[in-house]
Amino acid sequence: MTADQNLATRSDPGPRQDRAGLLGGLALGALMLIIALAVALTGRTTAAGADARAVVAAGGTQTVAVTLAGMRITPSVIEVTKGTRLVLEVTNTDAMRHDLVLDSGQETPLLAAGQFATIDVGTVSAAIDGWCSVPGHRAAGMTMSIVVTGADGTGTGTGEAASLGHDMGSMGGSATADGAAPAIDFHTAPGPDWQPYDPTLAPAPGATEHRLTMTVRDTVVEVAPGVRQTLWTFNGTAPGPTLHGKVGDVFTITFVNDASMGHGIDFHAGSLAPDEPMRTIAPGESLTYQFVANSSGAWLYHCSTMPISLHIANGMYGAVIIDPPGLPAVDTELVLVRSELYLGAQDGIADEAKIAAEEPDAILFNGYANQYDHAPIRVRVGERVRVWVVDAGPQRGAAFHVVGAQFDTVFKEGAYLLKAGNAEHGGSQVLDLAPAQGGFVEFVLPEAGHYPFIDHAMVDGERGAHGVLEAY
């Protein structure tokens, strides 16, 4: 205390000590910065490729840590000496849910981020394949294999395990195939209870702010007469609801996941950092997605969860229509969302192998094969018709054509390609769209009759991308 008093009452410490204190403090601060940055910026990268192959010591019980993340299972190959008992400690370090299923019959439950589970594989005597059973993840590369190296193990009493592994293996194989897809008969009519998807574009509401809840559910939907799929739908239908507004409108979407797996949403009609609003959310979760429609156009929205091809093919798409300023009202305004159907088993989900091979079973307007052949769209002779078309894909382009009509107005991807009354007296026959593109065409039907509208990629036009405008 006396020392304290002494120092406190002593004369000013003087500029030299003062500077020493300051410099010492800054040096210490710099040291803190270096230490903190050393911690922050170093560390083992757990990128794909690291620890791709694990070799397990022979004999006894061996435990291997398995990580599920980034559409990879690490290690992807585990080498085991025959007769070794293998235990897998499986951890999901990803933001989305995963599991690990082995064709030897064992599996982990669905693991949320950070959760782990243990699989006792038992004594390994034959090769075993493993994968994540969340739809699409196996095709995206979430596979692993346990391979047996022939060297002797601890004992020979493994015949039972070998036959077990074999049987379960074949069972796993057939379970994946899940039965054959039903055949589509393009010439049958739907049942009496069938309701077509309303192609009419509802007028944009007067308000400049649009609020909507969009809920994803697993929904059994008829996609062709007698053919049903369990689609992942936005608000119960595929395509999901069509949003309609003007340039500058604000859309506030409450996105709810009531389905059985992770999903996300991506609105092309707004521009924003995808990180938060387009993230995948787990079942039971919701998020708010707000965007300003700064640009006019026919915009696609779709699920943002990998593999996006599967999620779009399984019904997760829809349109946002933003009118260009000064767009005149017309008598009939329609929206057609074109998509491909990669049919899985009856009541099953889309077939990933067909998606990968780009071999669709049918092409759909508004989610149903030949929908408007069964329910023709009636328009008046001599009145102006505007048809908005969005190509949801997931993979193929569109060539929208109306048999017997010529388009005098074509608006594609934010610009008029053609306007009525142009000096060249030009007309148009097809609106071509790459996957995700959109636009509209306008025309007048000159006399009463049945005007088919088709995808003029004729193979596609003959497998579902077909409907009828009935002029009266």
């Binding site: 406190a8 004369s11 010492g24 800054l26 040291l31 803190m32 910065l33 903190a36 950070g114």
Partner: protein, 146 residues
Amino acid sequence: MLDVWSLVRFVHVVGAVVWLGGQLTLSALVLPVARRRLADDDRADLMRILGMRLGIATVAFLIPLQIATGVALAWHKGVTVASLAEPGYGRMLAGKLVAFVLVMLAAGLHGWANGVGRRTLARSLAVSSLAGSFVIVLLATALPVS
């Protein structure tokens, strides 16, 4: 969106602002003026009392608050002890926590050095605590958003 987590984040940020602002006020505003205007013992007295008050507020209030809100935010973010070792968000947060511990250590030692009359050391520690606080804020702003 303004939800309960924005509120927790708000409290966490305000806590940091109070701690950093308190130090900055003492070192950069009060001390130079006190040097010029006050007699040596008055100044030493004033600085000791102000330092003690900030110290007490820190230990009794700010540290528990920052730890509680910080742990809550990390939990909400899905941070686990294991993920602190992973490059990216985890490592950045670990670096921030290390800086936090170092700063609190420097601040505590500053109090001790003042108490035993080692003024140059005390000043060094005060300056390093202030500089280190900026390091914490730097790492906080460097945390990846997603």
